[in-house]
């Protein structure tokens, strides 16, 4: 048993976007604030802070989860992926991100980081998604700009592109 005392900082070691990462956190520090203020990855947004809006969604051990309902100390030993993991390089967008751009699947962009991570996790498990599945996934996110239709379109387009890419890899 380990007891991490209130008011003191404790070491947290985890994997962030495939690389080992470490920081220090008080028990009360939320994963959102830990990522943004301690680690310095600010792609993950902070919205409602009670798990409703979905802006803070990150991947924890391969599953989309609310960073605002997770303590930094809970992710010790876990694999965390954030929106920063999606672009292959700082000057290029990933497939899902490009599809969002083409389809105007974002306007203000506040909800986008969370939605991208949810969709990224989803498309890994469901390479041939239908619209119903995508809409069910998007129930966990609030977007006040787009009306969701362009997001669904972008997700379907990205899934097709990812499937083509997969084929090319297997053929080669």
């Amino acid at each position: 048993m380990s007891r991490l005392q209130a008011g003191r900082r404790h070491s947290v070691r985890f994997s962030l976007n495939g690389k080992p990462c470490a920081g220090e956190a008080e028990p009360r520090l939320l994963l959102t604030d830990f990522l943004r203020h301690q680690i310095g990855v600010t792609g993950t947004h902070v919205g409602c802070e009670h798990g409703v809006c979905g802006a803070c969604t990150v991947s924890i051990d391969g599953r989309p989860a609310r960073a605002c309902l997770t303590l930094a100390v809970q992710i010790d030993g876990s694999e965390v992926r954030t929106v920063e993991s999606l672009a292959p390089s700082p000057d290029r967008l990933g497939i899902l991100q490009s599809a969002f751009k083409r389809n105007h699947a974002l306007q203000c962009g506040f909800c986008t980081a969370g939605i991208l991570i949810s969709l990224d996790c989803f498309l890994r498990e469901h390479p041939n998604p239908d619209e119903e599945g995508i809409r069910d996934l998007l129930c966990g996110h609030l977007c006040r700009c787009t009306g969701y239709t362009p997001i669904v379109r972008a997700a379907i387009e990205a899934a097709a592109e990812l499937a083509d890419q997969g084929k090319e890899k297997t053929d080669a």
Binding site: L30, A65, L71
Partner: protein, 270 residues
């Protein structure tokens, strides 16, 4: 907002959990998936001095079928139960209700027992436990006891659990009868305005309703049709003591109980 300060205990043995609960009682809270508790803490509606993380105890993360019951441990996440290959065959009502429990993004961490411990009157899993007549397994350093669902829920977010007890598991009876589930919410996955579950019984149906009273309520009905069924549902809807809130009026909730109730009873008895 941010939670108030607390000590975080990462338990590695069940004894440690029971020991801390025994010593600190109501000042300590169990942290499982955190999908209800962390929201309450962020809003400062809960300010525990100690959080006991039970998610590193493999013995609590099991789903077991023994004879006629299914035991779901305190560490079993909602997503894990939904992915359990036997779910559709053994626990059909949970298979129907789980997709309505929060969202993919909260089921990934939220636990089955956590939702039942939180006892939100609109939540689906307490409703399923109530509809099937399940049991809650409570354990402290001094004693172990089982409480039937009908005695466990005590009011709005209130249960029969006392401060030094851990909900070690819940059990659902395997019911090989027809069942149905439906709910109405503003957004799929949000808390239900009204949720209804119907299970066939030997001489009729049991209807369980969430979101209306301050805890999930169940009632057995004989086989009824037509206006006799409508009258029975109307009587039940009025007895539920529906409340008005920002989402819906009490009258609208009674309407939903009557309409969804009738549809589901017909579906199960057809």
């Amino acid at each position: 907002m941010k939670p108030a300060a607390f000590d975080y205990v990462r338990a590695e043995h069940l004894d440690e959990v029971l020991d801390v609960l025994g010593r600190e009682g109501g000042d300590a809270r169990i942290l499982a998936g955190g999908q209800s508790l962390m929201a309450m803490m962020n809003m400062r509606l809960a300010k525990p001095r100690t959080l006991i993380d039970i998610m590193h105890l493999p013995e609590l993360a099991r789903i077991e079928r023994k004879g006629g019951t299914i035991t779901v441990g305190a560490g079993v996440r909602q997503a894990s139960l939904l992915a359990w290959p036997e779910l559709g065959r053994s626990l059909q009502l949970a298979a129907l209700a789980l997709p309505w429990t929060g969202h993919v993004q909260t089921r990934s961490r939220g636990t089955v027992c956590g939702s039942i411990a939180h006892a939100d009157p609109s939540a689906e899993l307490p409703l399923v436990l109530q509809a099937l007549g399940g049991e809650v397994h409570l354990r402290s350093a001094k004693r172990r006891r089982r409480v039937a669902a009908k005695d466990f829920f005590a009011g709005m977010m209130a249960t029969a659990r006392v401060d030094d007890e851990l909900i070690e598991a819940v059990t659902f009876p395997v019911v090989q009868k027809r069942c149905a589930f439906r709910e109405v919410a503003r957004r799929h996955g949000d808390f239900a305005i009204v949720a209804c579950a119907v299970v066939e019984t030997a001489d009729g149906v049991r209807l369980a309703v969430g979101g209306v009273a301050d805890m999930p309520a169940a009632r057995d009905f004989p086989r009824l049709e037509g206006s006799a069924l409508d009258d029975a549902l109307n009587g039940f809807a009025y007895e539920l003591d529906a409340r008005d809130d920002v989402h819906a009026t009490a009258r609208y909730r009674r309407d939903l109980v009557r309409m969804i109730g009738r549809d589901l009873v017909r579906e199960v008895l057809q």
